[in-house]
């Protein structure tokens, strides 16, 4: 048998159904007699609802019901929640305003759901939705996070004066002030981290079924964490107790964070199925995805760094305004705080850091975690500053980074995190060598001869993954623990089912999780099946996000496998009449060390189930479960090098080479890890060059609400990437895994912008670096070629 364990490039077990059109996504699941929901959404960014007239819609062909916020309140359906409490620096709790699934009195962003029409078919629902008459009294709107706290700005919620949700701080202000007072060099930058739309290609969807006889709900939905959805829908929104609600997340077509959250639409479908007595289906169209899926990023930041005469960083001061949109989405509060400011030390030994973060309401779509969630924003701050500092003191960007790297571990940063391990110089060296960094000047000269401005940019990122130790996140305000669960069921014939609380929506768990079983038990991966995404099958789990499935999910599976192995070994020793301490599991067999006695794993499984000859006191069967709570975050890190050519005549940017050297700790399947990096890079390069959500300042309309207006990275915008890894195994989990799902999106925006800034010789360049912005920056800097 070919090696299929840890480190093997095993082709994916799940592929066949996807390449033959047999995938089973939410919208593919046939449900008898299902009705279709269409949401009536606010066309205004901010308005009072004066009156809703549903009569014409109710009379339309095929309409089963038209439901509004009033009906929701009548049925005592709870509000949506934000599950992470943040306290302001004055000790006051965050000012979270009510977030009703259907707005009742006031709408606060374009797309805010107001009513739902349920009809026998999709077209009837759409037709009737146009007949719902909503009378609005328009109010002034504010969309700009930098303007929303100003005196006289339109106020969104009475609970949050000045539209301010919290004013939070982390670090030692006095120490930073002292560091700045004694420093030799200073740099400061203003940054905008552009608002992004996650845009998983599968739109969100829900099919809700209510069984009146049993009082039991089933919800098929596009979720990254079906158990968390069940918990929130039960415990907070109050639609059904957990044992009466089954949530199934079948094949899910990408998530990137946007499918973590508990949204209005899924909640309303579930409720409508009970209220109207029909199964209710809903699938977002793309315009709805743009309006109604939680967006990402949207920070405005001023950052200052102080260095001593030998170019060592002595202090970092950061002030960020984070736009959370019109309502607080499920984990929104944690993103610009504990997932952001805690990473501001980067890969560097910085003695003093102080960060202040104001979270604000605006009349825009709610903002929450999107691939990287806080960590891309932190990396952008630190890595743009490092380039600015290198320019200021006149040394090479690679050298200033090298000079400031953390070199001893564990390392306690001034912003909570304790890095367990890493070798930042190794990934820097690997990336520089692959990118032929030393020879860059000759490439620049050659490009210059062709009228092109060539630039090179670095980013040395760090992230915190494997979210997270439950006690730690609890002490920081999280409403949930972030452990993971697993169950391993060995069948009598020796095939194995692994149940996990993680959810795969492209990550390849059905393959990688089976590889761990192959590694430990010597069982071929095709004899292992991975079960996930169904609350009726898996007892509990926290889902997949924050690059946690390897570090946390596999650790839980590993723990359950250890228990299975211990019991199987006891049985094997008994069957071979050997002492347990003399028995080892090797290549799928239990062997008595130093003898030729052996018994296949499958035969031990059979013996466990026949139970004819078990050691005294041993229960029949071979099935074990485990809960694994991580001891620490994990800290993937690496260096990205981007090389660009700018056409100064058009402002067009071409990425000519992109190199990634990542340290993800132990790698289960290099093929899958490389794929994760490729995808992350595309999203990060998309942020840097193409993507950006634009709201009209006056009307609050989302101007970029289709793929024609919002530039997604396409194949011709990208290059083939050079990816490689260096390895320092994580020290705080049994497998040494750090996680790889977000790195690409975290490190690449800074690398791209640093490269363009290098090409142009400019300090400031906002994302997305569109041809217009780049052209203007090139003109402003009067580079010789641009001036010709």
């Amino acid at each position: 048998m070919a090696h299929e364990g840890i480190g093997a490039r095993v082709l994916r077990k799940e592929d066949r159904r996807f390449i033959t059109g047999q995938g089973n996504y939410t919208d593919d699941i046939p449900v008898k007699n299902a009705a279709y929901a269409e949401f009536v959404r606010s066309p205004h960014a901010h308005a009072r609802i004066v009156r809703i007239d549903t009569a014409a819609a109710l009379a339309a062909p095929g309409v089963i019901g038209v439901l509004t916020g009033a009906a929701l309140a009548e049925d005592k359906v709870g509000n949506l929640i934000c599950g992470w409490m943040i306290h302001s620096k004055d000790g006051s709790p965050m000012k979270a305003a009510p977030y009703a699934p259907l707005a009742r009195d006031v709408v606060r962003y374009v797309g805010n759901p107001v009513a739902v029409v349920v009809a026998e078919n999709k077209n009837q629902a759409r037709d009737a939705a146009e007949l719902v008459q909503v009378e609005y009294q328009e109010l002034a709107a504010v969309v700009d996070p930098a303007a929303t706290q100003a005196p006289g700005a339109p106020q969104l919620h009475a609970e949050a004066p000045n539209n301010t949700i919290y004013q939070w701080a982390l670090g030692d202000k006095a120490a930073v002030d002292r560091a700045f007072a004694g420093a030799a060099h200073f740099v400061e930058i203003d940054l905008i981290n552009n608002r992004l739309v996650p845009n998983a290609i599968e739109p969100r969807a829900a099919t809700a079924i209510y069984d009146r006889a049993e009082g039991r709900f089933t919800l098929y939905t596009t979720s990254q964490n079906p158990h968390v959805a069940r918990l929130v829908l039960s415990a907070f929104i109050g639609l059904a107790p957990e044992h009466k609600l089954r949530v199934v997340a079948p094949d899910v077509g990408g998530g990137f964070g946007s499918k973590i959250f508990i949204y209005p639409e899924e909640t309303v479908c579930l409720w409508a199925a009970r209220r109207l007595g029909v199964p209710v289906r809903w699938t977002a169209d793309r315009r709805e995805s743009f309006l109604a899926d939680a967006h990402g990023r949207d920070h405005v930041t001023r950052a200052e760094m102080a260095l001593d005469a030998s170019h060592k960083i002595v202090g970092l001061r950061v002030k960020t305004i984070a736009n959370l949109g019109a309502y607080m989405s499920t984990f929104s509060s944690s993103v610009p705080t504990y997932l952001y400011a805690t990473l501001l030390s980067g890969q560097y030994d910085i003695p003093a850091i102080y960060a202040e973060v104001d979270a604000v309401y605006t009349n825009t779509t709610p903002v929450d975690a999107y691939r990287g969630a806080g960590r891309p924003e932190a990396t952008f701050v630190v890595e743009r500053l490092m380039d600015a500092a290198a320019r200021r003191v006149g040394i090479d960007p690679a050298e200033i980074r090298r000079k400031n790297f953390i070199r001893t571990f564990p390392h306690q940063t001034p912003v909570i995190m304790t890095y367990d391990t890493g070798d930042y110089e190794a990934s820097l060296n690997a990336a520089l060598s692959t990118a032929r960094y030393a020879e860059f000047p000759s490439r620049r000269r050659e490009a210059s001869g062709r009228g092109k401005l060539r630039g090179i940019g670095l980013a040395c990122y760090i992230e915190a993954c494997g979210i997270a130790p439950s006690q730690a996140v609890g002490s920081l305000g999280a409403g949930v623990g972030l452990w993971e669960s697993a169950e391993v069921r060995v069948n009598p014939v020796g095939t194995i089912e692994v149940l996990t609380g993680c959810h795969s929506h492209g990550q390849g768990h059905e393959t990688t999780f089976a590889q761990l079983v192959a590694e430990r038990f010597g069982v071929p991966v095709d004899q292992v099946s991975v079960v996930h995404g169904d609350t009726d099958k898996v007892q509990f789990g926290m889902g997949t996000y924050g690059s946690r499935s390897g570090a946390v999910g596999l650790s839980a599976i590993n723990k359950a496998l250890e228990r299975v192995e211990a019991k199987a070994k006891r049985i094997a020793a008994h069957l071979m009449e050997a002492a347990e301490s003399d028995v080892e599991l090797k290549g799928g067999e239990f062997v008595v060390v130093g003898t030729d006695k052996r018994i296949a794993f499958a035969n031990v499984a059979l013996a466990a189930y026949t139970a004819h000859n078990l050691p005294a006191g041993t229960e029949p069967g071979l099935k074990e479960g485990a809960f694994y709570d991580p001891q620490n975050f994990t800290f993937p890190a690496g260096t990205y090098v981007c090389e660009v050519e700018v056409d100064p005549k058009t402002g067009g940017v071409e990425i000519v080479q992109f190199t990634a050297a990542d340290d993800f700790g132990t790698i289960v399947n290099p093929m899958i890890v490389e794929g994760q990096v490729h995808g992350g890079l595309a999203q990060g390069i998309g942020q840097a060059l193409l993507e950006g959500c634009r709201y009209d300042r006056d009307s609050g309309q989302l101007v970029t609400a289709t793929f024609m207006d919002y530039a997604m990275p396409r194949a011709s915008d990208l290059v083939s990437f050079n990816v490689s890894t260096t390895v320092t195994p994580c020290k705080t989990n049994p497998l040494g895994i750090k996680g790889c799902g977000e790195a690409g999106a975290i490190g690449s925006p800074a690398a791209v912008i640093n490269a363009i800034a290098d090409a142009l010789g400019v300090e400031r360049l906002d994302m997305p670096a569109s041809p217009q912005r780049v052209w203007e920056a090139a003109r402003a800097n009067r580079t010789p070629i641009a001036a010709e």
Partner: protein, 156 residues
């Protein structure tokens, strides 16, 4: 109501549907061929690409009635029984898919690309994928898979 007579994946089909039915709705909802996906409803993402009389079309921007009289191949009809089409096999071998949602449209587009241009270079492959969005793979392995099939000449 519109009368639709088509051959889908080699099978003759006759159905009456509402006039405004899109080809993708006809395939997914009337015929239950859910391998063809809808990612944007505006002809931008390409998740809905099928072959109509041997050419790639976006089935979300075509009425079912317009397709009447045609032969349609969807992702479900690409393999010959258990034998995968070389493009399907290459997507598997080169890890050219992650969540799988764009994959059917991407594979149908890739097959059409090699029909038109049997030996494309990387830039040509990338340019010809401009009508298909993938959010997972960064296109890296999709380009590799298509190039690998082109190399063998087995794409058509």
């Amino acid at each position: 109501m519109a009368q639709i007579n088509v051959k889908v994946n080699g099978r003759a089909v006759a159905r009456q549907v509402e006039d405004r039915t899109l080809l993708v709705e006809f395939l997914r909802e009337t015929l239950g061929l859910t391998g063809t996906h809808v990612g944007c409803d505006t002809g931008q993402c390409g998740a809905c690409v099928v072959h109509l009389d041997g050419r790639a079309v976006k089935s979300c921007t075509m009425m079912a009635a317009q397709a009447s009289g045609s032969e349609i191949t969807t992702i479900e009809g690409l393999a010959k029984g258990d034998a995968l089409h070389p493009m399907q096999a290459a997507f598997h071998e080169h890890h050219a898919l992650q969540c799988g949602f764009c994959t059917p449209g991407m594979i149908m587009m890739a097959v059409d690309l090699l029909r038109r241009i049997p030996r494309p270079d990387e830039a040509t492959i990338r340019a010809n994928l401009d009508g298909n969005l993938c959010r997972c793979t960064g296109y890296h392995n999709i380009v590799k898979a298509i190039a690998a099939v082109a190399q063998t000449g087995a794409g058509a």
